[in-house]
């Protein structure tokens, strides 16, 4: 019994260590797509302790370091998905139009098979987001896909800036105005909810400042303001400590939030989906706001009816830092193909197209000093492809996170589940949740069969 216990403990420990681990590897003789520093042919990439130590020709393998022969293969930075809901056990706290106090970092599920499937598409980091039910939703978490760990904290990318989800338009108005019968029911209401929340946070922040100043005064006997995590978080947005990632579609609502942010001095702003971003591209560029878009999704609801698959190209050519995201466990496995569509719709160059899924999402998450390109000193998050990643025939062969090979197409077994429920029916088939709006997970009870969950 004791022995079993010891094995169990050592297993847990080894898994934990694996999660935190940083690897060494030498990638030999590949075509290196650095994204920021051009394309280098027949070049080696040496990784030490999870970091890119050297990029160059004919690098000798240090003793004991795993060597990957990348002859004829393409080596690119690991793909970053700036909008994802994988590895999470809860998406929406749809109980109030403002829920800045909740945090996706509390509900990370490192066991989801979707993490491995994403690695199979060359993805190394994701922005695990709260849903879009609330005008001001919960805080999000930037994860590295360290599949294999059982430790939810080991999935977090330490040092990544804090981010929060906002949402405009149909989703918050449907959930709260429609479902809960409270403001906002309209886009006017959404603006009001956000302005009101920021105003309250400003007051809260000022109250604390006053208190903190006064308590230094000898003989001061006043009570501190009541601690409020929601307002605390909102105040951190006003102070520039949290990047706002706002679900949005229509040009008018995008413009509205630009004005609100300007009034409250908020500069770190990324619009998500932003299907009509192309209509206000000059304004986005002038403000320095960024955009994370779908390549071509449209028609699933009214506010995306007037979309164009040229959105990413228009935004890019107008100087907006743009990324292409998935918001979808299926699509995130071929973001390289989604990025390639900008070569059909707008003729972006290879480098511009690759930036949409590497350095640009890194900028939007505030992690571009560490990821998003192949440069010495950066984290060794790398995807290795057979055929060019922007070709339809591009197939990821290895995906490396912090120097550890987490996906190996040739050598991984077919069944990569980390935890198997012995009672699970092997015939269990999960046929497509593709018609479900993941941003609205957890709000189905408000709408009946609108989400297709009641469909036959």
């Amino acid at each position: 019994m004791k022995k079993i216990f010891l094995i169990f403990v050592s297993l847990i420990c080894s898994v934990w260590v694996f999660g935190q681990d940083k690897g060494n590897v030498l990638i030999k003789n590949g075509t290196v797509l650095t994204v920021t520093k051009g394309t280098l042919t027949e070049t080696d990439v040496l990784v030490k302790d999870g970091k890119i130590a050297q990029i160059g020709k004919n690098i000798g393998a240090p003793q004991g370091v795993k060597v990957i022969d990348a002859s004829g293969l393409f080596v690119m930075p690991g793909i970053i998905d700036a909008h994802s809901h994988i590895a999470l056990d809860a998406i929406n706290e749809a109980t109030s139009p403002v829920t800045a106090e909740v945090n996706e970092g509390d509900v990370i599920n490192p066991l989801q098979i979707g993490i491995y499937r994403a690695l199979g598409g060359g993805v190394t980091a994701v922005h695990a987001m709260h849903g879009s039910a609330n005008a001001i939703g919960g805080q999000c978490e930037t994860l590295k896909l360290r599949y294999g760990t059982f430790d939810q904290d080991a999935m977090k990318m330490d040092g990544a800036p804090r981010t929060i989800k906002f949402a405009l338009g149909e989703n918050p108005t449907r959930v709260h105005g429609g479902g809960n019968n409270i403001v906002p029911r309209t886009r006017m209401g959404v603006e009001f909810v956000i302005r009101q929340a920021f105003s309250q946070a400003k007051k809260y922040s000022e109250d604390w400042d006053t208190y903190n100043k006064n308590k230094l005064v000898k003989g001061f006997r006043g009570a501190p303001p009541v601690y409020n995590l929601r307002l605390e978080t909102l105040a951190d947005i006003l102070k520039g400590n949290i990047i706002v990632h706002c679900h949005s579609y229509r040009a008018d609502e995008i413009f509205m939030l630009l004005k609100v942010c300007k009034d409250f001095g908020i500069k770190r702003l990324v619009f998500q989906h932003v299907n009509e971003g192309f209509k206000v591209a000059p304004e986005l560029a002038a403000y320095g706001a960024m955009a994370s878009v779908f390549s071509d999704w449209w028609a699933y609801k009214f506010e995306v009816y007037y979309s164009t698959s040229y959105n990413a190209a228009i935004l890019t050519k107008n100087g907006v830092t743009t990324s292409i995201n998935s918001d979808d466990a299926q699509m995130m496995r071929h973001l390289y193909n989604e990025a390639a569509k900008t070569q059909k719709y707008g003729s972006l160059s290879d480098e511009e197209a690759l930036a949409l899924i590497t350095i640009n999402p890194a900028k939007q998450l505030g992690i571009d000093a560490r990821t998003g390109s192949l440069e010495t000193g950066k984290d060794a998050d790398i995807a290795i492809f057979k055929n060019h990643p922007l070709s339809i025939y591009g197939v990821p062969q290895y995906t490396i996170v912090d120097g550890i090979v987490r996906f190996d197409r040739t050598n991984d077994p077919a069944d990569m589940r980390l935890m198997v429920d012995p009672k699970q029916n092997l015939d269990e088939v999960s046929l497509q949740d593709k018609n479900i709006d993941h941003c609205m997970d957890g709000t189905e009870f408000l709408f009946g069969d609108l989400f297709g969950t009641d469909k036959k």
């Binding site: 098979i113 491995y116 499937r117 199979g120 192309f278 209509k279 591209a281 000059p282 999704w297 449209w298 028609a299 699933y300 609801k301 009214f302 009816y305 007037y306 979309s307 164009t308 698959s309 040229y310 190209a313 228009i314 466990a329 299926q330 699509m331 496995r333 071929h334 193909n337 390639a340 569509k341 070569q343 059909k344 719709y345 707008g346 055929n387 922007l390 070709s391 339809i392 025939y393 591009g394 197939v395 077919a414 069944d415 990569m416 589940r417 029916n425 092997l426 015939d427 269990e428 088939v429 999960s430 046929l431 497509q432 949740d433 593709k434 018609n435 609108l450 969950t453 469909k455 036959k456």
Partner: protein
């Protein structure tokens, strides 16, 4: 006088201004209308100097395709160009037959979340008499968006209940459903699913088993009624007592005159469907969806039933499956000898324009490239019984084709020309018009 003179002068000036403005406005308006509603062009066309991928008869380099009266009238390297033909030099370009997507609801859905624009799911479990062709909207915004990507023909299918209706094959050009109809209709059957529908399905195994048995029993009863209806109908020479539109719609299927499109995805449902078809000797059957077809590939091949894969860019159906199983599905079935067409199945975002990328992914994950090309051209044409008109570049076929500057599976490739039944399509859609308008928006940030 001076005052009047002033007014007169002003008037003249203003008149010039106003008339100038009006002319400009009119020009703008005309141009605007033109841009929004460019028409197709009919006539005789010669596509010269092209690499022609005929699909059925190999590749012709430096060849010519002559289009006239809606048909491909000649194909080859030494083809005479008829007088008056519009010559389109396709040097460095390729001619392919129009792609056919067998997994769509084009024209039946405009905006996914708005039920007022949804016409694919009539109420009732037994409504095969609901005809997709009736409700296909020839002006759906998705139509130009789809066709300028080279997808010229789609199967528009109802969905929902057990027998949700009759699907129709349409060409993506025309002003009435009759003009669009491409010569095939098939009755849709969603085969009763015997499995758990996913993690959200909280039924016990026993409940699922019971529900499946009951659904199968229901299906069998309906089929039995249709068989009886056929007997009565045949015996009375078509003078059936009473009005039974649903039985009337099933009649051609029972008689083996019309295809039954059976949607089945889970392995056990595919097995059950194959058994059901065999027992009832249903003559014309196509399996659709077939997400787990690879598990049953040998049985499907043995039954000689063709399939339309309902999307390659899909997740694996089971957590224990290999991560790329859905990508590999079509190729694995083809290798086992199944006749495989690839559909996009991208109904919720109306992205049927992605059909070549579904085929491309099938190739990247193991399918032979020639087979993948066939799977979106000649194979669906054969499955729908319209291979005499569609699916390849051959003399006498409908001129459904496109011209592009590279491998049509590659994203970089631009589609240069699209012809549908001999009509040269305007190469724009609402999405390209938005690009034209907003790439360099005027005014920019400042209105001055």
């Amino acid at each position: 006088m001076i005052f009047l003179e002033l007014i007169k002068n002003n008037f003249m000036k203003n008149f010039q201004l106003i008339s100038g403005f009006l002319t400009a406005l009119l020009c703008g308006l005309v141009f605007h209308i033109d841009a929004q509603n460019q028409k197709g062009k009919y006539g005789t066309f010669a596509l010269t100097n092209a690499t022609i991928e005929t699909i059925t008869k190999g590749t012709i380099t430096n060849g010519t395709v002559i289009i006239s009266n809606g048909k491909i009238v000649s194909v080859g390297t030494s083809v005479a160009i008829p007088q008056g033909a519009e010559v389109i030099d396709c040097k460095g370009q390729f001619v392919y037959p129009g792609m056919i997507d067998g997994a769509t609801n084009v024209g039946l859905s405009e905006i996914g979340s708005d039920p007022r624009t949804i016409d694919f799911n009539e109420l009732g479990d037994l409504v095969p008499q609901m005809k997709a062709l009736t409700a296909v909207n020839p002006n759906a915004v998705a139509i130009p968006i789809t066709r300028i990507s080279g997808v010229t023909t789609t199967l528009s299918s109802p969905s929902g209940g057990l027998f949700p209706g009759t699907a129709a094959l349409i060409n993506l050009h025309g002003y009435t459903p009759d003009q669009m109809f491409a010569g095939f209709e098939g009755v849709v059957l969603n085969f009763p699913s015997g499995g758990r529908r996913g993690f959200f399905d909280r039924r016990t195994d026993e409940e699922i088993k019971k529900a499946t048995e009951s659904a199968q029993k229901n299906l069998n009863e309906i089929w039995e009624r249709a068989v009886q209806y056929n007997k009565v109908d045949s015996a009375t020479g078509g003078k059936n007592p009473g009005y039974y539109p649903e039985m009337q719609a099933l009649l051609p299927v029972v008689r083996g005159e019309r295809v039954l499109l059976i949607e089945a995805n889970a392995a056990k449902d595919i097995t059950a469907a194959l058994k059901w078809v065999k027992e009832r000797r249903v003559a014309k059957v196509v399996l659709t969806g077939v997400a787990e077809g690879w598990r049953m590939a040998d049985q499907i091949a043995k039954a000689k039933i063709p399939v339309i894969v309902g999307g390659v860019l899909e997740l694996p159906s089971r957590e224990s499956d290999r991560y790329d199983q859905a990508y590999a599905n079509a190729g694995m079935m083809r290798k086992a000898g199944v006749k495989v067409a690839i559909g996009s199945g991208e109904t919720s975002n109306q992205n049927f324009r992605n059909l070549p990328y579904h085929a491309g992914f099938a190739v990247a994950y193991g399918m032979d490239k020639t087979e993948a090309l066939k799977a979106i051209t000649i194979v669906p044409a054969e499955i729908f019984g319209v291979a005499d008109k569609l699916g390849s570049i051959e003399e006498g076929k409908s001129a459904n084709l496109f011209v592009c500057d590279g491998d049509p599976f590659e994203n970089k490739t631009q589609i240069k020309q699209v012809f549908i039944e001999g009509w040269q399509m305007p190469m724009n859609s609402r999405q390209t018009l938005l690009y034209d308008e907003f790439l360099k928006r005027e005014p920019g940030v400042s209105k001055k």
